[in-house]
């Protein structure tokens, strides 16, 4: 394959290793905007703010009593939300480093939180198989609405302007369309660990525990592509789009980062990819702007920043 053609190769050169976490890292998120910072949360109950460029830890947010399972950064980078095993959702002020809001109500650990576009609504999905939508504007701490359609733990959420997408262990991806007032539940058949829509909202990337990453058409629910080869059977791994959504990237349980061509679902070189983490890669996130940067979080306690070798 000529270098000029096809999707750009994945950033595979280790730029920095962020290793202050003790215990597995569950989530790594880029900040919004230019995404110069990275937030990571792990089993050590701390959320750490990093400068991935320098590889330094900037700040440590500690309030969780249990592991941190999810982080979501607001659009203006002034606050972020986190959740974890303590069954509550915290909203943090980034600069002050304190929680501004603590939302309790879930009956199981909260696997995922997501803020909407202007950080007025927070969605949290929990092991108790509910998705709760919290109002961050009103002083009331009760959820606006509870989505109880899931039959099993909710593992992933995505909130955009008019839809809420929830992936659950019961093998369904449920799309709540606010404008239409309808719920589209797509049966995937296997526990869903991540569901990431493309930026235009027409496709949805779903990773499931049968070692598949599937690309669905959101309007019809049809399968567009299936990406296989990696090993993903028991942990929550997140698949994401590569730069410009030309590729699909997913870390697997052996510690390798896999990349596929979006269109022909071919594994990008090297195939098989080298093992870069000691343990399962729990989170993969591509830089929203920079085509050559990507972070992975792993159960081996490290967050690795990848760039092109240049």
């Amino acid at each position: 394959m000529a270098p000029s053609r096809g999707p750009q190769a994945l950033a595979r050169t280790l730029h920095k290793t962020l290793s202050n976490h003790r215990g597995p890292v569950h989530v790594v998120r880029y900040a919004k905007g230019t995404a110069k910072y990275v937030l990571s949360g792990g089993q050590d109950r701390a959320i750490r703010l990093w400068n991935p460029d320098l590889g330094t830890e900037i700040k440590k947010f500690e309030a969780h009593g249990y592991e941190v399972l999810s982080i979501s950064v607001s659009h203006d980078n002034t606050k972020f939300a986190s959740s974890g095993g303590d069954r509550s959702v915290f909203v943090w002020d980034v600069t002050a480093g304190v929680t501004t809001r603590r939302l309790a109500g879930h009956m199981g650990k909260v696997n995922v939180v997501e803020l909407n576009a202007d950080a007025t609504v927070l969605a949290s999905g929990s092991y108790d198989s509910t998705v709760r939508l919290w109002d961050l504007r009103a002083p009331a701490r009760a959820p606006i609405q509870v989505l109880e359609e899931a039959r099993d733990a909710v593992q992933t959420l995505h909130v955009d302007a008019t839809t809420i997408i929830a992936g659950s262990v019961d093998g369904h991806v449920r799309t709540y369309d606010l404008r239409k007032g309808e719920l589209r539940s797509d049966f995937i058949g296997q526990p869903v660990t991540s569901a990431v829509p493309s930026s235009d909202g027409t496709t949805l990337l779903v990773s499931t525990l049968d070692s598949h990453v599937r690309l669905f058409d959101t309007t019809s629910g049809k399968l567009l592509n299936a990406f296989t080869g990696h090993k993903h059977t028991s942990y929550r791994c997140r698949a994401c789009f590569g730069h410009a959504e030309a590729t699909v990237v997913c870390g697997d349980e052996d510690g390798a980062v896999w990349a596929w061509d979006l269109v022909d679902a071919a594994v990008l070189q090297p195939n098989p990819p080298p093992k870069v983490h000691d343990k399962v890669i729990t989170w993969t996130e591509h830089h929203p702007i920079d085509p050559g940067e990507m972070v992975t979080g792993s159960a081996d306690g490290t967050v690795k920043v990848w760039r092109h070798s240049s």
């Binding site: 939508l133 504007r137 049966f187």
Partner: protein, 880 residues
């Protein structure tokens, strides 16, 4: 208390109270005051904290908290609650004779209860003693002992000192009848009889017999009281502690000889009034032999008639004795088969002990093999035959409860072939005519089946009353039924909150009842896991349907006919489920995602959620994006679609140009802002916020408007009319109403450019010329008023001669970019403020605008675009 004060006083005076002088006693008469120093003045005042609470025995009952609390120890009996405190050594030298050293009496350790008990006992004894006459046990003992133990002097002293024992009532009566102590009771007897009673032969002549004595009657011989010795040991009956093994068994020769004697066997059973002829001696004391006894029996035949018996009762006893008499000697001879003698006091029974009957086991034919089927079939046949079913055949399997309760009287009666008694009516249905029953059945459907009516051929077969099923929520019931699924329960009934048992014709009542009770049980037991507990469990995504295990004994194929239906129903359900799930799963497995795997249902997002997301509440079916970008996107659409339809088909009923357009019932983003037709009025009313684009269109593009309108004038027919009317109206009245301009009638020609400008003015004046119908719908009109302006744009667009709307907007955005934005914000902030917002401004506008004046002037200028903008702008500002 006076002593204490006195003492204190003396002490103050310096007098030693203990000195002899102070205590000198000068009293000659009466009781002297107690000596000062050791006066125990009980009435003396003691401060509260010094007072002590003592019980009647003088023990302290209240101790300080640190000295044992309330009644230290176990009511002062022991040193501590745990047990005895070790006694401390006390030198006997220092206090030899103190009370402490005195050994404690049992009474010291008794509490009130024990003491009263003891006292009661003593009292009882006392009363006894009073009650019993001389000659009771006590008296006899006294008599026996007193003679030898006590000497005469002490006895005399005692007698003199002790109060005379009181006679009992009976004794007193007897005494009045002439009885004396020491005599027997009964009629007087002759000397001869008396002699016999004393065991002497009256016929034997003796010297010392006084002839005179024979002439008198004598009191009968006194009956000595029988002293039944208390048995206070644990020996078995007939055991003689003094004897050896052989002796006790009666083997020893000397004992056997003794046992030959007339010793009474039934010592145990002798009553107090049984005169046992002086054989009332210790039955166990074999060493003591009374010759008199023997004598009495020896002599019995001789003087039988002369014997005097004191009572008929004793007579009976005597007769018994006689009957027993011949056997008595035999007791010694009769032995057990093994040669042993029975125990003393026991007789060997003549009747043999009844033995249990044993029946031989029936012979089982050699070719017999167990065949339960046959039994089941027979049972089935029985159950079919209702009369037989009435009584449970013994072979029929019964539940434990059934077995326990047994068969009812009705069942038994039916089994015996009795005609059933006229029982109480079973239900109200008996009184209802068949027709009515049918009707009720129809109306209620399957909700309840009337209980068996009188035509039921098996009255005895009463259905066990269905157990009361606690009210359960439908979903709970559903969940509960996953455990036990009564076959008679239909899912649709489950959907309702109530459970309506419905028996199938094939089901036997027993089965039905059992099913119902099972369900009731499970419904009662089943509680949905709630709260925190529920959080710990999540239902599995994948149903693991293992092999179905049938509980209970395996019954090979006997069921099918009976329970065929129920089984089928039961099996159908899982099948259905599987079917329902299967296509989805199947498709997913095959990777055929799409229609098969997708389920779409309605979902109502909370209003607040929609608000936060900036999305129109979807229950109106039409989402209107008020958020900036989307609104912009929507706006052009609106204008474009609205334009063509609306103006072309200006319907008569339409309020405005826009409303005319609404003639098309189609609802899309375009029509929404405008109150199109009457039919949609309701929706519009509920509809909170009009599209921002409308406002924008109105206010932001005023300058353009003028231009457009100009063009519109040229091209379009509809709009013209209002202006024409308005022209006059405008000047005349700046109407306070914001009523939209009158509907477009399609008169184009009348309108000039000059007249056109006023189009906007007419808003105020509209009411006059506006159609009445429109007035009625205020809200609509308000909206439509805005729409009116829009329409003008549209018209322009349609004409295509003016700027395209978007372009126009952009231009004015450039110009007035700040204002519209502000407006937008304002609008957003107000939730339902739209109506207000629309309504208020018009009057201001009308006032503010010198429109009326201007319009005619401008008429000429219309063509000039500049003239329009300033005016329009003004209005926009006013709105702000």
């Amino acid at each position: 208390m006076s002593t204490a004060r006195l003492k204190r006083k003396l002490g103050d005076l310096g007098i030693d109270t203990s000195s002899r002088k102070a205590n000198e006693n000068f009293c000659l008469i009466g009781t002297p005051l107690p000596p000062l120093e050791k006066s125990k003045d009980t009435g003396e005042f003691v401060p509260l904290w010094k007072q002590e609470v003592r019980d009647e025995k003088g023990r302290r009952r209240l101790h300080g908290a640190f000295t044992g609390g309330f009644s230290a120890g176990y009511f002062n009996t022991v040193g501590s609650k745990e047990g005895w405190t070790p006694s401390t050594f006390i030198s006997s030298r220092s206090d030899r004779a103190t009370n402490k050293n005195r050994p404690s009496r049992p009474e010291d350790f008794m509490d009130e209860e024990d003491l009263t008990g003891m006292h009661d006992d003593q009292k009882l004894i006392d009363e006894h003693e009073q009650m019993d006459l001389l000659g009771t046990q006590d008296e006899m003992r006294k008599r026996a002992e007193g003679a030898d133990k006590k000497d005469a002097i002490t006895l005399a002293l005692e007698r003199s000192l002790l109060p005379a024992p009181k006679d009992s009532v009976g004794a007193r009566i007897l005494k009045k009848m002439g009885w004396r102590i020491g005599q027997g009771i009964g009629p007087r007897i002759t000397w001869r009889q008396r002699e016999m009673a004393f065991g002497r032969d009256p016929d034997v002549p003796s010297d010392d017999i006084d002839e005179e004595a024979k002439k008198h009657l004598y009191a009968p011989r006194d009956t000595p009281l029988i002293i039944v010795e208390r048995k206070d040991n644990f020996h078995g009956l007939g055991y003689d502690p003094g004897l050896g093994l052989h002796a006790s068994l009666g083997v020893a020769p000397e004992t056997s000889k003794q046992s030959n004697g007339p010793r009474l066997a039934g010592g145990f059973g002798l009553g107090a009034l049984n005169d046992a002829d002086d054989d009332d001696l210790d039955v166990y004391d074999q060493s003591q032999v009374h010759g008199r006894n023997r004598h009495a029996y020896d002599a019995n035949d001789l003087h039988d008639e002369e014997r005097v018996f004191m009572s008929s009762r004793s007579q009976g006893a005597r007769d018994l004795g006689k009957v027993a008499q011949p056997q008595r000697p035999s007791t010694g001879l009769v032995t057990f088969r093994d040669g042993r003698q029975p125990l003393n006091g026991f007789v060997i029974s003549e009747k043999p002990v009844a033995e249990d009957l044993c029946f031989p086991i029936p012979d089982v034919p050699k070719d017999w093999t167990p065949n339960p089927k046959r039994v089941w079939e027979r049972e089935k046949a029985n159950s079919k035959d209702k009369e037989n079913a009435a009584i449970l055949p013994p072979s029929q399997t019964q539940s434990h409860a059934q077995w326990k309760t047994g068969i009812s009287a009705n069942q038994r009666g039916a089994a015996l072939g009795e005609t059933p008694l006229p029982s109480a009516p079973r239900s109200i249905f008996e009184y209802i005519s068949k027709k009515d029953q049918e009707r009720i059945k129809n109306t209620t459907g399957s909700r309840f089946a009337p209980p068996s009516t009188s035509d039921d051929p098996s009255p005895g077969l009463s259905l066990p009353t269905p157990p009361r099923i606690t009210h359960t929520e439908p979903h709970v019931a559903q969940a509960a039924l996953h455990g036990t699924l009564p076959t008679s329960v239909h899912t649709q009934t489950l959907a309702q909150a109530q459970f309506h048992p419905h028996r199938k014709p094939e089901q036997t009542p027993e089965e039905f009842a059992k099913e119902i009770s099972d369900y009731a049980k499970s419904a009662a037991l089943f509680r949905p896991v709630s709260g925190a507990m529920a959080g710990r469990f999540t239902s599995a995504a994948v149903l693991d349907l293992g092999p179905k295990i049938v509980e209970g004994l395996h019954t090979p194929a006997a069921q099918p006919e009976e329970g065929a239906d129920s089984m089928d129903v039961a099996e159908e359900k899982p099948k259905e489920e599987v079917k329902e799930e299967a296509p989805k799963v199947h498709a997913a497995r095959l990777g055929m995602y799409g229609v098969m795997t997708r389920e779409v249902c309605t979902w109502q997002p909370a209003r607040l959620l929609c608000k936060r997301f900036g999305v129109k509440d979807p229950d109106l079916e039409v989402p209107v994006d008020t958020s900036g970008p989307s609104a912009q996107a929507a706006a052009p659409e609106f204008t474009s679609t609205a334009s063509a339809d609306e103006f072309a088909g200006a319907s008569a009923g339409a309020t405005q140009v826009d409303s005319g357009g609404s003639g098309s019932s189609k609802r899309d983003v375009a029509n929404i802002g405008l109150g199109e037709d009457d039919g949609q009025g309701d929706d519009v009313l509920t509809y909170e916020r009009p599209g921002m684009d409308i406002f924008k269109a109105i206010f932001a593009s005023d300058d353009e408007e003028s231009d457009e309108e100009k063009d519109r004038m040229d091209n379009d027919d509809e709009v013209d009319e209002p202006p024409a009317v308005s022209v006059p109206a405008g000047p005349s009245q700046p109407g306070p109403d914001v009523k939209p301009p009158p509907p477009a009638n399609g008169i184009v020609e009348d309108v000039d450019l000059a007249t056109f400008k006023p189009t906007f003015i007419p808003r105020g004046s509209k009411p006059k010329d506006g159609e009445k119908e429109k007035k009625e719908k205020r809200n609509k009109k308000q909206k439509s008023s805005k729409g009116g302006t829009l329409v003008s744009f549209d018209v322009d667009e349609d004409g295509g001669e003016s700027l395209s709307l978007t372009a126009a907007r952009q231009t004015h955005r450039d110009r007035d970019s700040e204002r519209p934005r502000k407006k937008k914000r304002k609008d957003r902030d107000r939730d339902g403020g739209e109506d207000m917002w629309v309504e208020k401004p018009p009057p201001d506008i009308v006032k503010a605008l010198p429109i009326t004046d201007v319009s005619p002037d401008e008429g000429g200028q219309v063509s000039g675009q500049e003239s329009g903008p300033p005016r329009a702008r003004k209005r926009a500002i006013d709105f702000m």
